[in-house]
């Protein structure tokens, strides 16, 4: 799983909702194996004011076509410009980066919780976790129905649940208010989550209380993405660790979150 810097070709850029886009990138040669939770670091040349690369989780991989996709949510300047790239444009990408989620046991019942741009690694994980879809529960939260993306391509990977803050899709409230979450939490063998800090902390708290294995994927600010700058550190029980190489996925037991 050697990391490389490559010029990839954008072959698709699909707007999924008002601020989410799916970008599909194609490599000139065989792709390395990429695991859910791993990410890529993208150079955004067309943006005047951007200096550093921007990290994005992998949403899906198609080894046969040598392509993988990203789910890019417009947050600031870099992500905005990235979503204006057109098919045929070349994009320099460093990948694959980071350590992904741990593989569940074949008999595990798992809960995947995604919020915001954290949906991408959850969908990828649902696809390749190798479990019976009955044992895969996927809970996605957003502000409103307009902020959810269409997940029909993933519908057979597990059972989907939605929350929105305004009740426009699924149950009203945060993911941690969902009835399934509240009633079944302790029945899961493993919880995987990626999303806003506040969401992950609330889940980590509940998981810790319920004694359920729980992995979170962090989005600390990164300068390099491959372990040399030591800027992305998270405090862990064994000191500062790099989110880009030791993570982005951490077991909540390693973290020192005040929850």
């Amino acid at each position: 799983m050697k990391k490389t810097v490559q010029e990839l070709v954008l072959i698709e850029n699909t707007q999924l909702n008002h601020d989410n886009f799916r970008l599909v990138l194609q490599a000139g040669s065989e792709l390395p194996e990429i695991f859910p939770g791993q990410f890529v670091n993208v150079e955004i040349k067309k943006a005047t004011e951007i200096f550093l690369r921007r990290p994005f989780s992998v949403l899906d991989v198609d080894y046969q076509n040598r392509t993988f996709s990203l789910l890019v949510k417009i947050l600031g300047r870099g992500s905005r410009v990235l979503t204006t790239y057109q098919p045929g444009d070349k994009i320099s990408v460093i990948y694959p980066l980071g350590k992904g989620f741990s593989q569940p046991e074949t008999t595990d019942k798992v809960l995947l919780i995604g919020g915001g741009s954290g949906v991408a690694p959850m969908l990828f994980l649902s696809k390749v976790c190798g479990l019976n879809p009955e044992n895969v529960h996927i809970l996605l939260g957003a502000r409103s129905i307009a902020d959810h993306v269409d997940v029909s391509a993933y519908q057979h990977n597990g059972k989907f649940y939605f929350t929105t803050e305004d009740g426009s899709l699924g149950e009203k409230g945060f993911v941690t208010n969902h009835s399934m979450y509240k009633s079944e939490l302790s029945t899961f063998n493993k919880i995987y989550t990626c999303g806003p800090d506040a969401m992950m902390k609330a889940i980590a708290k509940d998981a810790a209380k319920a004694g359920v294995f729980c992995e979170v994927s962090l989005e600390n600010m990164m300068a390099c993405g491959f372990g040399v700058c030591l800027c992305c550190v998270e405090k862990t029980t064994s000191g500062h660790k790099c989110v880009c190489t030791d993570g982005p996925v951490f077991n909540i037991k390693e973290l020192t979150w005040q929850i």
């Binding site: 200096f51 600390n220 300068a223 030591l230 500062h240």
Partner: protein
């Protein structure tokens, strides 16, 4: 193919391109991207006697054409280096240089003595310019007497090439360079980062946990280049230039200004293959300009 080799004291660098401290770990971290033996040298992450956790997150802020960092010399200490890192790198064919840090002169000396025992570490870079630690660091590098004192003490225990890394946060960097030269430094490297600051206007808070941090990247290149030019004229020892090098042309500018070698730092974050690209680019340049030896290029800026 021109002869790219260059010497600092008696130490031969196969080419003048080194990676800068704190931007390439211990070399191993970029080995996926580059063959380390193609580099002139690797200046490793700042090392201290004892393990340091570094500063709290957030430690980084992107800035126009640059970045601020406030890592604060996070490292596992010299014992860990000797035990767990040195064995992995010692047989790689390049110059691995330890970036030596201390809070007191005694610490600098003790650390240097430990490194001195390591056969395959042919030189040290004495960092008297880290802006991100509360004690020591830049404090030593911003006045002549304190810079002289550290260099004198370290020189007394170290006979291999001693490179002293200078801070740009001074009124007259040539003066500091002359001061460390007078105490026996074999080379000066410059610049370390500029003390800067970032504020999040919406939250009305500093972005960095430490309020201020060190600015690096192309934003600082014009100032770094000026300092290298001034220092190269002020001292006789070789100068190693850095600050915002993003391609071979940038590196050549530093060399024309008087640098005998260059270091690449922040540029590695954007493209970890940059150091080898710069080696190739310098070679091309020499060929294009009909120079057989890299040494002809050093300081060959034409004035007037």
């Amino acid at each position: 193919m021109a002869d790219l080799s260059v010497k600092i004291k008696d130490l031969v660098f196969k080419n003048p391109v080194l990676t800068a401290s704190g931007t390439c770990g211990f070399g191993e971290e970029i080995a996926d991207f580059v063959d380390l033996s193609e580099l002139g040298g690797v200046v490793m992450k700042g090392t201290t006697l004892k393990h340091r956790e570094g500063n709290n997150y957030p430690r980084m802020a992107e800035t126009p054409s640059g970045m601020l960092n406030a890592v604060g010399l996070q490292n596992k200490g010299v014992d860990n280096f000797i035990r767990n890192i040195y064995p992995n790198i010692k047989d790689i064919e390049t110059n691995f240089i330890v970036n030596v840090n201390g809070s007191t002169i005694e610490e600098y000396v003790e650390l240097t003595e430990r490194i001195n025992e390591l056969d395959k570490i042919p030189a040290i870079e004495l960092n008297i310019s880290c802006p991100n630690v509360k004690e020591g660091g830049m404090a030593f590098g911003v006045s002549c007497p304190s810079a002289e004192a550290v260099v004198r003490a370290v020189r007394a225990v170290y006979s291999k090439p001693l490179i002293v890394k200078l801070s740009p946060n001074v009124t007259n960097i040539a003066e500091i360079a002359r001061a460390v030269e007078s105490q026996g430094a074999d080379s000066v490297s410059l610049v370390n980062t500029f003390l800067g600051m970032a504020i999040d206007a919406e939250s009305r808070k500093p972005v960095l946990s430490t309020i201020t941090g060190g600015l690096s990247g192309p934003a600082i290149k014009p100032i770094a280049l000026r300092m290298v030019w001034q220092v190269a004229q002020a001292v006789k020892i070789p100068v190693i230039g850095m600050g915002g090098i993003m391609n071979a042309t940038d590196a050549i500018e530093f060399i024309l200004a008087g640098a005998s070698a260059v270091q690449i730092g922040t540029g590695i974050f954007i493209d970890p293959t940059l150091p080898v690209q710069v080696v190739a680019g310098i070679n091309d340049y020499l060929d294009r300009h009909n120079m057989n030896s890299f040494n002809e290029l050093i300081g060959s800026l034409q004035i007037g």
